[in-house]
Amino acid sequence: MTNAESGSPDKEPATTDQAARTTLDNTERAEPTSQQPPERPALGQLFVANLWAANTFTVTLLSLVLAMIVGGILMIVSDPDVLATYGYITARPGDALNASWALVSEAYANLFKGAVLDPDAVGLTAALSPISETLTYTAPLVFTGLSVALAFRGGLFNIGAQGQATMGVIAAGLAGFLLPLPAGLHLLVAVFAGAVGGAVWGFIPGILKARTGAHEVINTIMLNYVAVYFLVWLIVQNGVQDPNRTNAISRPVDASAQLPRLFGDNLRAHAGIILAVLATWAVAWLLNRSTLGFELRAVGSNPAASRTAGISVTRTYVLIMVFAGALAGLGGSQMVLGTTAAALTPLVVAQIGFDGILVALLGRVKPWGVLLAALLFGALQAGGNRMQSYSGVSLELVTVLQALIVIFIAAPALVKAIFQLRAARAARPQTSLAKGW
């Protein structure tokens, strides 16, 4: 409790020293530079050479393969029937292998059919259904992923996308059923409210970081839970709770505030995915073309140097968190204005905030990378639903797969060692942002 207990007297010099070292190689290493060698050998040769090198694409793909292998093992060990065939594997090894293969391949086939394309589907609606489901799950993840990625580039680790999305969903939901506005305007107001709700929740850790130095990781984690308890409390208040229900559910959002569907009334894909692509473009522009984006990246790679160069680090930190919060809030607003749900419930935001962290890492904290990563995660979610209902494999497997993929891509050295990849020409993909509390 006292200072005397907390360690050596010379800790402060060590602190600044290490800060300088870690901040220098932080964000710059997070971007793999492009794979252009100075003089070009034949295209085919280049392709083969890069295929088995530890570049971003190969590492990501192999991480996916590794994750699916581990997932398959989990499926086998948790299936008593298949496990029984391993009891006599020395007598009849074919049985065990056949049973395992049948179980795992059927599950993954259903994952694919639910996410991309079902060859047996009849009619346009049925054929589009998997894609529509994938896009429905993708849209909010793009926003939370962008939120985390944007903050990451500015040197802040936003664990609070979950809380910001929660405040976004609250604001969007309230605007959706409390305000009597004409169609069109109502939707705009509700979406805007979601962004503001998230921005407020991002502002708090931002200003605390800038003014008092309080670490944003700690504060955003804490604010996540504050937001959830606020949501749980709010839902059962008069005027918010659905008067016809006794359980914790709010009134439904008016039709005038709901995002329009893209492929007709039978498919769930909604305009949120278009907003998501626009947001990706906007964030890419902000980061790479605008003054703020330049300041943000400068502060992210070296705050001390940025301050010397005349950039207001405090202001940048606050702005980063406000923007990140607004993005996460937009993601949250889709959970109630889109087709996933029309009313607030305690679990309405699902896991989009935490998944957003994984999406941002998988997308190598670059806007378009985030979009692709969100697409993969959305596909896994959509496919996981089908896998659960057709193969009886719990949806939780998708969480395992997502976590494993990110673990593997976060440690490219491990993937490289497993597959004996050659070192890539360019800097190895690195998602690490080594920084203390």
């Binding site: 800060a19 504050v226 939780e396 673990i407 998602t431 690490s432 080594a434």
Partner: protein, 426 residues
Amino acid sequence: MSTMAVDDVAVAPVNEGFWTRARKAGLVLTALGLLAVLLFPALAASEPARFTLSEDASGAALKINGTVGAALFGAVALAAGVAILAGLPKRWFTLVLGVGLVGFVVSFLCWQVSTAPAGQNFMPLVNIVRGTFILALPLIFGSLAGVLCERSGVINVAIEGQLLMGAFSGALFGSLSGNLWVGLVAAAIGGTFISLLLAVFAIRYLVDQVVMGIVLNLLAVGITGFLYERLMQPDPAKYNSAPHFSNWEIPLLSEIPVLGPALFAGNIFLYLGLLLVLVIHIGLFRTRWGLRTRSVGEHPTAADTLGVRVLRLRYRNVLLAGAVAGIGGASYTLALFSFTKNMIGGKGFIALAALIFGRWSPTGALLAALFFGFADQLATYLSAINSAIPSQFLAMLPYLATILAVAGLVGRVRAPAADGKPYIKG
């Protein structure tokens, strides 16, 4: 605090003239005291508020009129706040602050208990104290796991996952073997498994430790949830019916009023938790291992120069932390409940909050865990007496308190200097 933060502080935190940290705390306490004196007596009913020394309404009780009690204890809080504001000698600060805060809480309780529905305006202190300890248990184990990791320089955000994995493997192997001790060992191994991943990826592959912690939490939720649905749900008798530790009463000590039944009639986890606080406290501050751990957490390069094997010590401490947290998880499945999906439900993050609020020390973490456990127990009690205070706001208390602490409003909070920074030799 973080290294970057130190550079970024707009106002130098050291010498602030009149508004020292103590005075700021005094100001907050004065405001709370004013609130208590002006508001709580007005809201309280002029009914007796009884604090019984038993589990129900019977037996000896401390009794006070609600309005009088609220005013009296509010005045205590106010007086303490004013005293600190007036510039109290430093050695009295903690004591007076504590008295003031207790005064505020008691004033609040006088109001709440006196306005409870007829027949319910009593507060069974044994229940409250016992509930506080039960609810604090996973927090104590979790925050100790955090202390072990972070004192040696590895951030542990994966406490939630370690607790969950411990709870799961304790339940699974406890029911498969039908043996409590097998379950306990399995729980420790389960927690260690998550820790092993954290250690290997953070120390060997230099993955960002916060990232790794978050991902490991999701992994633990996924694996336990998946196996729960595949194994435990279809066949709970085989996979999810672990035996439970019974309560062990310590003779004599369990006769002490209020504290006795709460502290000396608990299960093995209660004793183990309190013992671990003591052991880790002594270990950290009185042994060679502790000195090395702290030096590796503050300045690994210096420790390395003196011959301490930095990475090996970090591996060992992180794995140890996993075992501690795993046992903490088993305090659910081997004593109270059977396993359910995601049953830790954020307790790991409150444990993290307790670790930070307790300033990375075992005893501080214990006190913080008890405070958070009390808030949790109070929320349950208040909703049982139909209080006007929504239980959700009390549930927010640990998180808000941590934010205030980290922002420097309640006192100085500083992490070990090398916390979260991978050590690369050379």
